[in-house]
């Protein structure tokens, strides 16, 4: 299968991951435990985009607001829409990132890197500049590494026999929105 077909046919993987991650983070009050890494703070905030349908019949729903106001997005899930984009705060090991994840293609958008001490360096000094560049690269890659760790956790459940039970719990959480 070529990449274009793969993107179209498998876009649900990223969207299901993002929805699962939202549930997973709310299950423990904004914390997801990652094996071998420890607890990761994952908070869904401010901005979400849900999708429904494909191609010409594609509809989207944008929800903005604070965490507690994401009820509308949950209702969107009840209607069968899928979570395509979400603004996430992720914290791990004293670092905190804010980013928007575009799920179908796993794009990292508007990534705000953790604050570090190395930002006030002298741009004209090649060594300092290289150090600054390497630090930023580390932070970009570290975010990917953690997200891939979470994604792997999702996939391992998703392809296992345990998925049925997990899905029941996600559904229960989604349907709570309807009753709320």
């Amino acid at each position: 299968m070529d990449l274009v077909d793969l993107i179209a046919e498998k876009r649900f993987l990223g969207q299901e991951f993002l929805t699962w991650l939202w549930w997973k983070s709310e299950e423990r009050g904004g914390v997801v435990a990652l094996p071998e890494e420890g607890d990761i703070v994952v908070v869904f905030e401010k901005h979400m985009l849900l999708e429904y349908g494909e191609g010409d019949s594609n509809e989207s729903l944008i929800c903005r607001g604070l965490q507690t106001e994401l009820q509308e997005a949950r209702t969107g899930l009840v209607m069968g829409k899928k979570l395509e984009q979400a603004r996430i705060q992720l914290a791990f090991n004293d670092y905190e990132w804010n980013f928007t994840m575009a799920a179908a293609l796993m794009e990292f958008r508007n990534v705000k890197l953790p604050k570090t001490g190395g930002e006030s360096g002298n741009d004209n000094d090649p060594e300092e500049r290289e150090g600054m560049v390497l630090e930023r690269i580390y932070l970009f890659e570290e975010l990917i590494r953690i997200v891939l760790g979470l994604y792997r956790q999702f996939l391992e459940v998703r392809v296992s026999d345990g998925w049925r039970d997990e899905l029941l719990r996600v559904r229960e959480w989604v349907n709570k929105a309807e009753r709320a």
Binding site: L3, L6, I7, K10, R11, F12, L13, G14, E16, F17, T19, L77, V78, G80, K82, A102, A103, A104, L105, M106, E107, F108, R109, N110, V111, K112, L113, D123, P126, R129, E130, V133, L134, R136, I137, F140, E141, I144, L148, Y151, R152, L155, E156, R158, V159, S160, L167, V170, R171, V174, N175
Partner: protein
């Protein structure tokens, strides 16, 4: 933008293909060969090539300024002359009016109209100033991945072409399915290939 300063948007690619043993010499040669060439003083429609991530006028890359540890950091610069369709239409119509008056004819033929439009388009294109766009990238030589700091699909396609032309290597966007193939055990990856979308309500 965003690689060097501020907030950033990026996508991850896998780099596929073999690099020669003397990697840094090869990269030095290829980067300079495919460095950006200025078209401000020419009539070329567009130009694309590599520039330094910190200075879009730096195409010399002194002291291998693109190297940072085991990473290659570059910007893809594209300069393009563009004329809006509305402007072409306006000046083509103006020229048609002028010709009608000069030759004292009621209307210009279809073939003449095509010729006028083409000529006007070329003239305006020559006068247009090249518009620059710069897109940063960071290539991890150790694990053969690349971060591209734009989610623009057209820019991504241009990057894939320029990268292949420059280094003879292919870029494969790391979409969730492909990531899954890499991070899962073989057995699980095979299962992933067979799953279909689930309903979450």
């Amino acid at each position: 933008m965003g690689f060097i300063k501020g907030t950033a948007s990026y996508v991850r690619f896998g780099v596929e293909g073999e690099l020669p043993e003397n990697i840094w010499d090869f990269i030095a040669d290829r980067v300079v060969t495919f460095a950006f060439k200025d078209i401000d003083e020419t009539y070329d429609e567009d130009s694309i090539g590599w520039v330094s991530v910190t200075n879009m006028f730096d195409t010399d890359f002194e002291f291998a300024s693109y190297a940072a540890g085991n990473y290659v950091t570059l910007s893809m610069r594209l300069d393009e002359r563009k004329v809006s369709a509305a402007i072409v239409k306006k000046f083509a119509q103006k020229e048609e009016e002028r010709i009608k008056k000069e030759k004292q004819i009621p209307k210009v033929s279809r073939s003449m109209r095509v010729e006028i439009k083409e000529r006007i388009q070329n003239e305006l294109m020559r006068k247009a100033l090249p518009m620059p766009s710069v897109f940063d990238l960071c290539w991890n030589l150790e694990n053969s991945t690349l971060l591209f700091f734009s989610t623009n699909k057209k820019a991504q396609a241009m990057l894939e072409d320029l990268f292949r032309e420059s280094f003879g290597l292919s870029l494969i966007q790391q979409i969730p399915y492909i990531c899954g193939e890499q991070i899962l055990a073989e057995e699980d990856a095979e299962k992933m290939a067979r799953i279909t979308p689930d309903v979450f309500v």
